[in-house]
Symmetry: C2
Subunit: 174 residues, 2 copies
């Protein structure tokens, strides 16, 4: 289906399916453990290296710090992680697993440890390795392209975008 007509569109569709599968799996894991995929990923990262700052944690899981704040908020709400103000730099916050968080992580099935891609375990080692290398290469190409890709020509003007009246913002004004 769709044949080799337009490889780009095919890639697009595949990635879309992939994301959907990941999300479905994430929901399933959530039902079973109460923890979502991104939350699990964050916890796993914290298990390997405790006391990460929000920024560092965000870097390691390739997410925006603003997103990680929300994830940590919810994990903290469940008592799985803990925020500690850093003594070195009072802007920073150190995040680490609580005892309960470590326990929850131990109880997650092995198959879900690697987040959303449990299905790939059935592939032979060699294929899997090749796939990993392939993907890494693709990401590299896209990354390079995203950085400085001659924009060629801009056609079509940006639409206007009214901005609502701004309100209070910023850090927790304790």
């Amino acid at each position: 289906m769709t044949a080799d007509r337009n490889p780009l569109a095919d890639v697009n569709a595949s990635l879309r399916q992939l994301m959907q599968l990941a999300q479905t799996r994430s929901k399933k894991i959530r039902k079973e453990t109460g923890i979502t995929g991104p939350q699990l990923l964050a916890m796993k990262t914290l298990a390997d290296s405790p006391d990460l700052s929000i920024s560092e944690l965000a870097r390691r899981i390739y997410l925006h710090p603003a997103t990680v704040v929300g994830i940590v908020d919810r994990l903290e709400g469940q008592g799985l992680v803990e925020r500690t103000p850093s003594k070195k730099d009072r802007r920073q916050v150190n995040v680490k697993l609580t005892r309960s968080g470590k326990g929850a992580l131990r109880k997650t099935p092995v198959a879900t440890q690697d987040s959303v891609l449990a299905g790939l375990e059935s592939l032979p080692e060699k294929k899997l390795a090749r796939l990993a290398a392939n993907l890494a290469k693709i990401v590299k190409v896209l990354e390079a392209h995203a950085k400085g890709p001659v924009p060629k020509r801009r056609r079509g003007r940006p639409r206007k975008e009214e901005s609502a009246p701004k309100k209070r913002r910023g850090r927790k004004s304790a």
Copy 2:
């Protein structure tokens, strides 16, 4: 970087980066055209086959109908698509591009036509085709696994999840 230690984790990281790149690109396109990636994908699909129902459109872009409702809402708010009640089945709604929508689609740069993966255009045709085939295969494996993958053993009980008092719901009660 991470070497061949754990291919599964590598794949996971790559996919994560991929999704992030896609999202970043989507935001960029939005700044330039006022249209986001998913919105553009929906419009492109409607350009190929007008008067799709919400469900059918959702199927074609691999999204949940509930998600597509929101996307169509926003596109309709911008006057780019139009909802028409179906005469055959009064439950259905036919969505199609407006004249303005067609114009906007024409004005989007060619590079962004294929949504979020513009960078891949620099790859040689052959590589691209191989990549497409690879991804399709992977998706198939994951899909099969998601359907019926002997669950092995369930360990760890689901957490409780309090439910708030329900409110009014359902279709637009005109």
